[in-house]
C-alpha cells in the first residue's frame, strides 16, 4: 500500500505495529489505515474481528524490540518460526484478564453464581422465573470498584428488574457514579425497582450451599435485618494484567504500574505514552475498562502515532554520547536509561539519539565518566560556577541546581510574582535532577559555595522516572564523605516540587538560605 505520510528525514519505517486485536486495537488500526499508514497487527490469538485484508500476524508474539522511534526492529515468534518486523511506531492494546472475584466472597462459580459479563449478556440460569426470582449483584464489596463496572452492573440490574421482572438488589459500598450519565442511570434503575443497599461499616454475610445462596445483612440506615436467597448472583470482574503482559513488558522493556499494566503511573505518560518514545500503550494495556475509555484512547493513540511518524514530537535539545575509548562496558548506562536509548552493538553500548530524551542520568551515573552530555559537563558547569562566584561580592555564596521540568518553571513563575533571588545564590538550570553527578556537587563546593541545593520533581512525577532518586542517592554519597571529614552534611540539600509550585519554590530556597546562613561561609 502506498503511503502519503510525510516522513521525517532519515525515517526508514513508516508503518505502525499494533499489539492486540481487541476493539481498542482495531479502532487504532482503522484510523491509521484511513490515512494510508501501513498497519501490522501482532495478535496472540486468531484474527477474529479484524477487518478483512488487514495485515495480521496471528498466534504470534514479540520477544524483543530494538531501536528508536521511526526505526524499531521487533523480533517476532510465530508457529515456532522467528523473524524480524520493522516498525516506525508501536502501540500495545493487548487485552488484560477479566477475572471474576467470587473467591473474595467465598463463592464458587456455578449456574447461580456468575461473572458480571455473563449476566450482562443475558445469560441467566434456567431456574430463574420472571416475577418470582431474586437477583443480587455483589458489587464493589471486596474492593473498591470503578465507574465502567458500575455502569455494567446498573444496566444489567435495570434490565433484570424491568424486562425480566426479577427482584433485583445491588449490594455495594461506594457506588461509583463518576462517569457520564451514571447518576441518571442510578435513578432510572431505582425507579425500575432495583434496590441499592450500601454498606459503610458493616458487610453482608454470604453463605453458599448446594441448595442455595444466602445473603444476610443489616440495613445500616434502619437497623433492620434482611436475608436474601437469590436465584442468581453476579460477581464483579476485575481487570488484571494477563500473563502476556509480563512477556510484553520484558520484550519492550516497559515500565509498568504497581499492578503490572504497561504504563508507569506517572502523569507525564498520560494518556498513552510509555517510557519509550514511539511505543504507546492504550486501553486495557494501561488498565482501562469501558467502551468510552477505549475509544478515547484509540483516538489519542492515533494522534500520538501520527505525530511521531512525522517526526513532529518534541525532542530534547541535548543528547548523551558515549566515548568508546573510556568505556569499559560495565553497562551501567544500559541499566539506568529509562528510555531504553542505549543499545549494545557487538558488546559496546551506543546511544540511540532518536530514543534519548536528554535527561543526562547515564552521564552522571557512569563510573568511568565516559559519557559526554554537553553542555552539562561537570568541568564546564564548574567553570561557570567559578565565574559566578567571582561576580558576587556576598560573603555567603550558594548554588542551586534546578530541574528544568519542575523547579525552573516554578522559579519563572516566582519571578513573575515579584520574587527576588537572594543575591548570593547562583542557579543552574539542568534537564533533570538526575543529571547532577557528585562531580557537579564537588565543583560547586570547590568554587566556594557554602551550600548546594538540588531541586527535582516529586517521586513518581519525574519524566525520567528516577531522576530525583538518583539525585538523592548522590547527595547521600556526598553527605557520607562530609561526615568523614567533619563537614556539616546539611550544606548539601535536596528537595522536590512540581512545576506549579512557585510558592513552594520560594519557601524551599528561603529555608535553604537560612540553613546555610546558620552554618556561615565555608573556610577558605
Amino acid at each position: 500500500m502506498a503511503t502519503d505520510l510525510e516522513l521525517k528525514d532519515g525515517g526508514v519505517a513508516d508503518n505502525v505495529v499494533i499489539i492486540g486485536g481487541n476493539a481498542c486495537a482495531r479502532q487504532i488500526g482503522e484510523k491509521m489505515e484511513a490515512r494510508n499508514v501501513p498497519v501490522v497487527y501482532i495478535i496472540r490469538e486468531t484474527a477474529a474481528g479484524i477487518q478483512p485484508g488487514a495485515n495480521v500476524l496471528e498466534k504470534a508474539g514479540v520477544t524483543d524490540c530494538r531501536g528508536g522511534v521511526g526505526d524499531f526492529t521487533l523480533s517476532v515468534r510465530q508457529n515456532g518460526k522467528r523473524f524480524t518486523q520493522r516498525a516506525g511506531a508501536v502501540v500495545i492494546a493487548e487485552n488484560g484478564d477479566l477475572r471474576p472475584d467470587h473467591e473474595a466472597y467465598g463463592l464458587d462459580l456455578s449456574p447461580r453464581v456468575r461473572p458480571l459479563s455473563e449476566i450482562a449478556n443475558g445469560d441467566l440460569p434456567d431456574t430463574v422465573r420472571p416475577g418470582e426470582s431474586v437477583a443480587v449483584f455483589l458489587h464493589g464489596l471486596a474492593r473498591e470498584s470503578n465507574p465502567a463496572t458500575t455502569r455494567t452492573v446498573m444496566n444489567s440490574a435495570l434490565t433484570l428488574a424491568r424486562d425480566k421482572d426479577l427482584k433485583t438488589y445491588v449490594l455495594t459500598r461506594n457506588l461509583k457514579v463518576a462517569g457520564n450519565g451514571l447518576e441518571k442511570l442510578y435513578r432510572s434503575a431505582r425507579e425500575a425497582g432495583v434496590v441499592f443497599v450500601k454498606f459503610t461499616w458493616t458487610a453482608p454475610e454470604i453463605r453458599c450451599s448446594h441448595q442455595e445462596i444466602q445473603v444476610s445483612f443489616t440495613d445500616e440506615a434502619t437497623g433492620v435485618l434482611f436475608t436474601l436467597t437469590p436465584d442468581v448472583a453476579a460477581v464483579d470482574e476485575i481487570l488484571a494484567p494477563s500473563p502476556a503482559f509480563k512477556q510484553i513488558q520484558a520484550a519492550f522493556k516497559l515500565r509498568t504500574d504497581s499492578a503490572g499494566f504497561l504504563q508507569a503511573d506517572n502523569v507525564h505518560r498520560f494518556p498513552v505514552e510509555t517510557n519509550r518514545k514511539g511505543i504507546f500503550a492504550a486501553g486495557p494495556a494501561r488498565g482501562l475498562l469501558g467502551e468510552h475509555a477505549w475509544t478515547a484512547d484509540a483516538g489519542a493513540a492515533a494522534e500520538a502515532l501520527t505525530t511521531v511518524l512525522q517526526g513532529k514530537a518534541p525532542d530534547s535539545a541535548h543528547k548523551a554520547e558515549i566515548n568508546r575509548n573510556q568505556c569499559v562496558r560495565c553497562l551501567t548506562c544500559y541499566r539506568v536509561c529509562t528510555y531504553r536509548a542505549v543499545r549494545i552493538d557487538i558488546a559496546r553500548p551506543r546511544v540511540i539519539p532518536e530514543a534519548c530524551a536528554g535527561c543526562g542520568v547515564c552521564a552522571a551515573e557512569c563510573p568511568r565518566e565516559a559519557i559526554r552530555f554537553n553542555p552539562y559537563e561537570p568541568s564546564a558547569v564548574s567553570a561557570g560556577i567559578v565565574d559566578a562566584r567571582l561576580e558576587r561580592s556576598e560573603e555567603l555564596f550558594t548554588v542551586a541546581f534546578l530541574c528544568g521540568r519542575s523547579a525552573v518553571p516554578a522559579r519563572e513563575q516566582a519571578f513573575r510574582n515579584g520574587w527576588n533571588a537572594p543575591p548570593g545564590l547562583f542557579m543552574i538550570d539542568v534537564p533533570c535532577a538526575g543529571s547532577i553527578s557528585v562531580n557537579h556537587l564537588l565543583g560547586a563546593f570547590q568554587a566556594g559555595a557554602g551550600g548546594v541545593l538540588v531541586i527535582g520533581c516529586h517521586p513518581d512525577n519525574c519524566h525520567s522516572e528516577n531522576g530525583t532518586l538518583h539525585a538523592k542517592s548522590r547527595i547521600k554519597e556526598l553527605q557520607n564523605i562530609f561526615d568523614k571529614i567533619d563537614h556539616p552534611r546539611d550544606r548539601v540539600v535536596s528537595a522536590s516540587l512540581a512545576a506549579n509550585m512557585d510558592a513552594g519554590f520560594v519557601r524551599i530556597v528561603e529555608e535553604f538560605e537560612n540553613r546555610i546562613a546558620g552554618f556561615g561561609a565555608p573556610d577558605k
Binding site: K184, A296, Q310, P314, C457, N500
Partner: protein, 345 residues
Amino acid sequence: MKNLAGKRIAVIGAGVAGLSAAKDLARLGVDVTLVEKSDTLGGRAAGYGCKATERCVKCGACMVVEAVREVEASPAVEIRLSSAVRAVKRNGGHLLTIETKNDSGAESAEERFDAVVLATGFSPYDPSEKPYGYKIFPNVVTNLELEAMIRRLDRVARPSDGEAPKQMAFIQCVGSRDGKLGHLWCSQVCCGSALRMARWVISRRPDTEITFFYIDVQTFGKDFELFYQTVRDEIKMIRMLPGDLYPAPADGIKAVFFDPESRKEAEMVFDMVVLSIGITPGRENGGLASMFGVPANGDGFLAENGNGTDGVFAAGAACGPMSIPDAIQNANNIVQNVVQYLEKG
C-alpha cells in the same frame, strides 16, 4: 496523511483541553489561533495546587504549566488573550468575529478558519443558595478556593485570621448529584481533589483533624485502594451530608447532621469548612451551542465531538465533568477527529 500546512484552526478556551488541543495541532503543522477570554493561559486548573505528599498523587495540575510553556513557545500558535468570539458565519470555512479587549476598549476582526474546537470549560456551582453560609461565614470556602490557597500560598490559612485550621471539614456533592437542583450528575473530580487536599494538609500538619462528609467516595488514580485505606486511617469519614451550618464562637462553624451510625442528630464544630462545589455547564454553553450549531445535552453540556461533520468540535469539561488527565485524553482524541476532518477537506 495529507500535509496540513496552511490549515487554520481556532481553539476557543485556553484551559487544560484547549491548551492540549492547541499544542497537538501545532505539532502536526496546523496554524492554531488560541482564543482566551481571560488575560492568562491555563484556565481553572492553573489555579490548582500541587497536592503531592511524600510522592506525587497524580492530580495532573502541574501538567498545565507544561502545556502553557509549550504553547507559548510554539510559533504555530497565535495567542489571543482577553478575546471572545462574537459572531460566526459559515461561508466555505468558519468566519469568526473575534473581539479583543484592550486599553482603549475593544476591537473586532473577522477571520476565516477551517475548523473550530470549543474548549470553553465549566462553570463552578455557586453554593450561596445552599444552607452552608458561603460568603456569610468567613471560614467556609470552596474546594477551588482551597486549591488556589495551596497554589498561591503553599499553605492553608483560615480566611478570618490567617491561622492554620485545626478542625477542618470537607462537604462533598455541593451542587452535584442533586435532584432538587436538577443536577443529576456526579462532578467526577471533587472526591479526588478534596481527599488529596485533605491528605496534603495532614502531611504538612499532622495534628489537623479532618472530617469528610460524603455520599459515595469515587475512585480516582491507579492505586486508589491503597490511598483510600490511608484516608480511612487519617480522616473521619461520615457518610451523610450536613443539613445546615451555623456560626460558632471564634469564627467557627457548627455542622448539624444525622449521624448514620448512631441514627441520631449530631453536631460538630469546625474552624474551617470546605465545600466541594460541582462542575456545572459553562455559562456560555447555550450561546456557543446556538452560535456554532453544536448540540448541547439536556443538562447543558456540549456534545462531545461537537458538530464534527461541520468542522466544529467540542472538548474537555465543556462536554461534562472530567479530570485533568481525562481532559487531556479527550483533547487528544478530538485532535485526531479534527485531523481526520481536515484530511477529507
